[in-house]
Subunit: 421 residues, 2 copies
């Protein structure tokens, strides 16, 4: 019998009624002849309520104790879900992250899974039980409880699927799958039937919030097939797996956007060796994540350095940059929080020139100014004014024929002039 | 440095403000030069809220999953308490029952501690931390979470104290200590300064709710000194320890009462060998706890059998007795829920005759009718009408001079006629 891992997020288990509904879905999947493992998150607002209690006590609670606190959220859900399955006449057994053999490093609040010792879960399946595993949490080799960061239950599900050699890891969400763009801002966005790990990684890294980035990395490294699908229907969703010939050969898989970052610019930095190292060394020391970096061409012996960083790191970033500005004798620095990053992702870029050119022309025609540009072999990202996100996404979605699932891009010979790719 | 274990119940940690207060108390104890372990229960109503969720899903939730659910309550408290200590500038580290090495058997919802492997807690103390342990919960050797039954955090505290070789296990409550009677019904009740394990066991078993019976057994078996004291003051409370010459030599330590039981009577049972075995064998099979048993003198070849049982077992008891009545050809059975058990407890009974006589005479003078009587070497219990509890307790408290801490009972030569002792 195939092993199927099904993951349900906080809103899917937000009330006892919804937990009963998830139980019915699990039982139905079992009755179709599968061995079933459920991975679940904390109920709805439980995590926020726990956070509020912690913040009532301490402004900066120790991270080890935050993990101890937050891990109770999933533990409540797994117990209630096991009860719900029993109440419907089937056998189930719940496991905390520790009991399910999920071992992580000791980076509290953002731990990384190192290993899954799935013996107990496998034994429960062998005995005919539906096994229920708490998402989001793990145990260090020293026996401390950790949590895996926002969206960590996705990674738990993929890791458990890898540990069990599951046929598929189904991630249930409130959308129908992975789309060619965010359907909330692009109504013509089309559900993608299959997508490669590489493309899904780029989409997750550039704003597609449907899967935690780390879960996709884990799936790629262990060859776990992910099926992203809706909690509210039985329609097939999006399959994420190794690229193969059976996949649709779209050059561009999707357009993503991200408004969670801010841009910081340091002006008139002396243009001498070691300046960038000084700036970004200091940011790294202060635990500021940096995404895109641009250094302008030097002029009169000075230059401007810009970078983007998550808004949640901005307090630390301002402090670090203020000091570095003084140390380097730069003129000033500025912060722009009203930026957005728009990205095109597609494995076909590697073999089809002209994608960058068409992207830049499309944005120019839509009167969208480009502030920063960065690329990978299967992605092009542009920083633009946040107010123009919808315009940019729609224009790109249209220009690359994403609504229709076009497999080729028409390029004119001159189109490549506009871009690096 | 002495190791001191301090246990705080659910009302002491019922709000984040109260958790801050407990943190201050722990820090103060540490600053007096002790190594401190805190054992805490779930916050106030948390356990009831979790139970309500479970019952919304299932009328009879599996006990393993109930334990999984309820154990989250203490886990929340330990994390918040550790944060509260950190917020006040001291170091603390929290441990679940499992992490604290508390190993129990697999009797879910009423597990018994088998062993405490206190290495991690000891290591935390060695590093100068205040160690915080979740009460009420343990782990089986197979790795399942269990809970220890009502009042189980007391047993956790005593077990941890035993495992660490602590100087004392302080149990903080909302009363000032153990009293000669329940102060709510006997205003003259006096706080007892020291009491032996044997007497405390009898008092806990007969209605004194200040300590879980199991915790006193555990303390006796491992020689742990318990100090029952108030959360609201620094006054000394009651020391529970091995009997020795320094203790006050009261013949009677206290009078307890218990209205949680009901009496079941089976009438006109054929008086032949094996009848009692049939009745109580069946009750045991159905997991009905039986306290006192009385069989009347036989008359016309039949007899009456009465027993008391906790009201919470009454549904099962009725079912079992109805069947047994039919099987044995007894006439009928009846249930009386308005009974009370009043008990005198005192190690001095062993050496001072006449206690029973004075007890029965006192109750007779107060017009209290005795329905059943049972004794141990240091206890006499009478079943009476529940409506007369206060009258009986007050009369006995007065007759045995408990308010004044009298050490001798005046007995007339004829006083022993009235009783077995």
């Amino acid at each position: 019998m195939a092993i199927v891992v099904q993951k349900f997020g906080g809103s899917s288990v937000g009330t006892t009624d919804r937990i009963m509904a998830v139980a019915r879905r699990l039982i139905a999947a079992k009755e179709r002849g599968n061995r079933i493992v459920a991975v679940v998150s904390a109920m709805g607002d439980v995590t926020d309520e726990l956070l509020a209690k912690a913040l009532a006590i301490s402004e900066e609670p120790p991270e080890r104790e935050m993990d101890m606190l937050l891990a109770t959220g999933e533990q409540v859900t797994i117990a209630l879900l096991a009860m719900a399955i029993h109440a419907q006449g089937h056998e189930a057994i719940s496991f905390t992250g520790a009991q399910a053999g999920i071992v992580s490093d000791g980076s509290h609040t953002k731990a990384r899974i190192q290993e899954v010792r799935a013996d107990r879960v496998m034994e429960a399946l062998d005995r005919g039980f539906i096994a229920i595993v708490a998402g989001f949490q793990a145990l260090t080799p020293e026996g401390d409880i950790t949590t895996l960061g926002r969206g960590g239950s996705d990674t738990t599900a993929v890791a458990v699927a890898a540990g069990l050699g599951a046929e598929v890891c189904e991630i249930y969400t409130d959308v129908d799958g992975v789309f060619t763009a965010d359907p909330r801002i692009e109504p013509k966005a089309r559900k993608i039937d299959t997508i490669s790990y590489e493309e899904m990684l780029e989409m997750a890294a550039t704003g597609a919030r449907v899967l935690q980035l780390r879960s996709v990395e884990f799936a790629r490294n262990h060859g776990v097939v992910i099926h992203v699908r809706s909690s509210f229907s039985d329609m097939p969703g999006t399959i994420v797996k190794e690229a193969d010939d059976s996949m649709e050969q779209a050059i561009i898989s999707g357009v993503t956007h991200d408004t969670s970052e801010a841009k910081v610019t340091v002006r008139d930095v002396p243009d001498k060796p070691g300046v960038a190292a000084e700036v970004f060394g200091r940011l790294a020391t202060d635990n500021v994540n940096v995404d895109m970096i641009i250094q302008n061409v030097s002029e009169d012996g000075t230059t401007d350095i810009s970078f983007t960083t998550p808004k949640e790191d901005l307090v630390r970033a301002r402090r670090a940059v203020a000091e570095v500005t003084e140390v380097l004798g730069a003129r000033s620095f500025s912060v722009d929080e009203s930026i957005a990053k728009v990205s095109l992702v597609g494995a076909g870029m590697k073999t089809h020139p002209g994608v960058a050119a068409l992207m830049f022309r499309t944005l120019a025609d839509a009167d969208v100014n480009l502030d920063m540009i960065s690329t990978s072999s299967i992605r092009i990202s542009c920083v633009i004014d946040a107010a123009q996100v919808q315009t940019a996404v729609s224009a790109l979605h249209e220009a690359f024929g994403l609504a229709e699932g076009l497999v080729m891009v028409e390029t004119s010979p001159s189109a490549t002039e506009g871009g690096a790719l």
